[in-house]
Symmetry: C2
Subunit: 178 residues, 2 copies
């Protein structure tokens, strides 16, 4: 049987970081780089606090987020050897449910609806592997974990880090050897 992987959307399949920067500039006229955000929390990412949560609650945010570099090719590659599930904590923002579902159909039409999970917390997800950017999800997971680099997790080393999708594939290949 194929091993199963739970793959996060925001910050992993979807480049929300770039999108936050674009939306912040649009709203406040100030442009930040990804480097500027490094080591900050989501709450304090920008001078105006709580913007990450505000944008995430705004209609149109999730439907227009850019795809993370290399994600489409990597998911296609992973589907050859793994049962790939997309697991997104969408429940906090109800308006995001339909936007996230449409976004996946648009950019990842090769992912079957049976393999999509929108949840609140991820503690009951029982896949073999989890790829996520949030410690709150990875720390309570029982299987193998890969932490996808995001500005808010730079200072942590609780999990195997992948800086991009190329590194994810490399890590998974090395895990297969054991």
């Amino acid at each position: 049987m194929k091993k199963s992987i739970a793959i996060d959307m925001d910050g992993v399949l979807a480049d929300v970081e770039a999108h936050f920067i674009t939306w912040y500039e649009k709203e406040y006229g100030e442009r930040f780089s990804k480097n500027d955000l490094k080591g900050k929390t989501e709450e304090n990412a920008f001078p105006k606090k709580g913007m990450v949560k505000k944008f995430a609650s705004t209609k149109g945010f999730f439907s227009t987020v850019p795809v993370m570099d290399g994600a489409v090719e990597a998911i296609k590659e992973l589907q050859k050897n793994y049962e790939v599930y997309i697991v997104s904590a969408a429940m906090e923002f109800p308006q995001s449910l339909v936007e996230k579902r449409s976004w996946l159909s648009e950019h990842f039409p090769f992912i079957h609806w049976k393999n999509i999970i929108f949840c609140g917390d991820k503690s009951v997800i029982g896949t073999d592997i989890m790829i996520d950017d949030h410690l709150k999800n990875l720390d309570y997971f029982n299987g193998e974990t890969i932490m996808f680099t995001a500005f808010h997790n730079i200072d942590f080393d609780n999990h195997t880090r992948a800086n991009n999708w190329r590194e994810v594939l490399k890590i998974l290949k090395s895990l297969e050897k054991f």
Copy 2:
């Protein structure tokens, strides 16, 4: 730590069977009883085939479904001793996502968004217990299973059967004794 339970929506929290009957009568003028449907498949529940799937794809169906008798009180009771998750296979019908989320907020406002999961198949749900009406979900589940009676599962005995929410509570109490 509290044991966790995955509880299905359609046919368990929500009386979709009653709703199908109401919608069928509204559409075709023919009234069926729950007894008439017993032992039938979802596909062949009514003389006009495929109606269950048609209704489930129609806007407004899930937002207006009646609550299953005794479900509200039972969930409140279960929350005292279990970590209760609502797990619904909503992904096949994207329009149902928002309707189901609103329906839960309306009828079960005491369920936190962190405890709601909308998925495709349920094979990666890792709770201790699952309450569901569908064999396709229960058969592949690793923990304890309770099959909530529905017209389409009358002829199966693969799982401990509960005919109503009172019986669910009784079964769970008896499990606790061991």
